[in-house]
């Protein structure tokens, strides 16, 4: 590895890498929001009284935990566009990453719901709350506070999986995409990928410390 060239990347192409970092951040934030929504919905489906509804939730989780993310990206971007639905690159990236991670978040929330316990359900029912209020006001907030640490791990996993988006055919100029373009222009493979690695480690460190702060502030212990 060439040290002067390593630093010269920062001065020459630092802004491209920084833009890549911003796109990755935007992708991860949007996908995490979508995944939390999907995860909450699927968690409620998984814990429903009727077996048919539970089967829908279980089917979603089994499918989206066992399919590779790259195949999902191709199916959503190329497949849906071929069928006529005109969705853009960034939307396809957010949708695929969100649907993929939503399955894992659903499982994490479900373990939190089990830890909250049936007593909370029964108490809320006894107070006359409707089903949706029981879930939205009583159970899910407690479940989310119980599983902050696993959700933090899932966020870190999402940051790493967002690199797959950058290497796919999607035209999302995220950090991995910028690093590839830079490498194909300058042929400084080790130096550019080292900068990309530093970028991802930075994001992961921020996410970890954020999750730790949230855990100290809001976590319940059962």
């Amino acid at each position: 590895m060439n040290l002067p060239e390593f630093w010269s990347i920062l001065t020459d192409d630092g802004d491209a890498l920084l833009r890549g970092l911003q796109w990755t951040l935007a992708l991860v934030v949007a996908a995490f929001a979508l995944a939390m929504v999907i995860g909450a919905v699927i968690c409620v489906l998984r814990c429903h009284a009727r077996p048919g509804v539970r089967a829908i939730g279980t089917g979603y989780v089994e499918v989206f935990r066992n399919v590779p993310l790259l195949v999902l990206i191709f199916a959503i971007y190329l497949g849906l566009r071929h069928s006529g639905l005109a969705i853009g690159s960034f939307a396809a990236a957010v949708a695929s990453l969100g649907m993929y991670s939503g399955a894992y978040i659903a499982e994490a929330l479900r373990s939190g719901v089990i830890a909250v316990g049936a007593a909370q359900f029964e108490a809320a029912d006894a107070l006359g709350l409707s089903r949706s209020m029981v879930w939205a006001e009583v159970v899910l907030p407690q479940a989310a506070r119980l599983v902050i640490a696993p959700l933090g791990n899932l966020l870190i996993g999402m940051i790493k999986n967002s690199a797959i988006v950058g290497t796919s055919i999607l035209a999302v100029p995220d950090l991995m995409n910028q690093a590839r373009q830079l490498q194909s222009q300058t042929f400084l493979t080790t130096e550019t990928f080292l900068w990309a690695a530093i970028g991802y480690l930075l994001l992961t460190a921020v996410a970890t410390s954020g999750a730790n702060w949230l855990s100290r502030r809001f976590a319940l212990v059962r």
Binding site: E62, L69, L70, L78, G79, M176, T189, F193
Partner: protein
């Protein structure tokens, strides 16, 4: 709706060569996953044992190696190994691949993909080994010491055999993640399942009918992976005793 369920969009399935093309590609994925899994499972054990050494310096170095590879994205590792391997090495690999390797696996992309995946997953699996070894009840370690077993023998005859059964679900979870990440070698132009699906979608190689519908091709490719991974999940579930929480829910890949 017509696109999803219209019968003319399923006509390409009747042509056996289409399906065979996809399954050939999937075979490359399975072979890559098998090679990388075996290598990772083997190489992770010395890595985990180094991490557990009494010698603080060695343990710290091994720990840093594991943490670095664990925190990098898989795509970055695989792509970096593929791009950074000099072309001379790649040609040598293609020349000296063993004779019993089938034709599609002789490409340097497969070997380079296996190396990249092994670098990443040996670190993850080393962490699983370490957690498993640490989960063996401390009474066993104390009993081994009381019997006068040196530490190496205690590990070999007492701790690791007891830890392996508990770790198996977590190990299979990592193997499932590995199977999914073999699709990353499609970036390095290896003729695997996803690349074959793209080729099928882009042309009418084998059928002379209307164009193959893209969504159906990729959904079928996804179903191949889902089938394999569900089989692996069922195997993993048979190792879990009732006292263990389902370990796959917390691990992410």
């Amino acid at each position: 709706m017509d696109y999803l369920f219209g019968p003319e969009n399923y006509r390409w399935l009747l042509d056996v060569s289409n399906l065979r093309f996809l399954i050939q590609g999937f075979g490359i994925n399975v072979a890559t996953a098998a090679m990388a899994a075996v290598l990772s499972l083997i190489l992770a054990l010395p890595l985990a044992l180094l991490r557990l050494q009494r010698n603080r310096v060695v343990a710290r170095i091994a720990g840093t190696w594991i943490d670095v590879w664990r925190n990098l994205p898989t795509a970055l590792v695989v792509l970096y190994v593929a791009l950074a391997t000099p072309s001379a090495v790649q040609e040598a690999v293609e020349q000296y691949a063993p004779g019993w390797f089938p034709e599609p696996m002789r490409s340097s992309g497969v070997i380079v993909g296996v190396v990249g995946l092994t670098l990443y997953y040996s670190a993850l699996i080393a962490e699983v080994y370490r957690a498993g070894i640490n989960a063996v009840p401390v009474g066993q370690v104390q009993a081994a010491t009381a019997l006068g077993l040196p530490r190496r023998d205690a590990l070999r005859f007492v701790i690791v055999p007891q830890g392996v059964r508990a770790m198996t679900p977590a190990l299979i979870s990592q193997v499932i993640s590995l199977v999914k990440n073999t699709t990353l070698i499609s970036i390095i132009a290896v003729p695997e399942a996803l690349r074959h699906a793209q080729i099928l979608a882009n042309s009418n190689f084998f059928s002379t009918g209307p164009q193959v519908p893209l969504l159906h091709v990729f959904v079928l490719t996804g179903l191949l992976f889902i089938a394999l991974n569900i089989v692996l999940s069922r195997v993993s579930r048979s190792f879990e005793t009732h006292s263990h929480v389902r370990s796959r829910s917390m691990s992410f890949a």
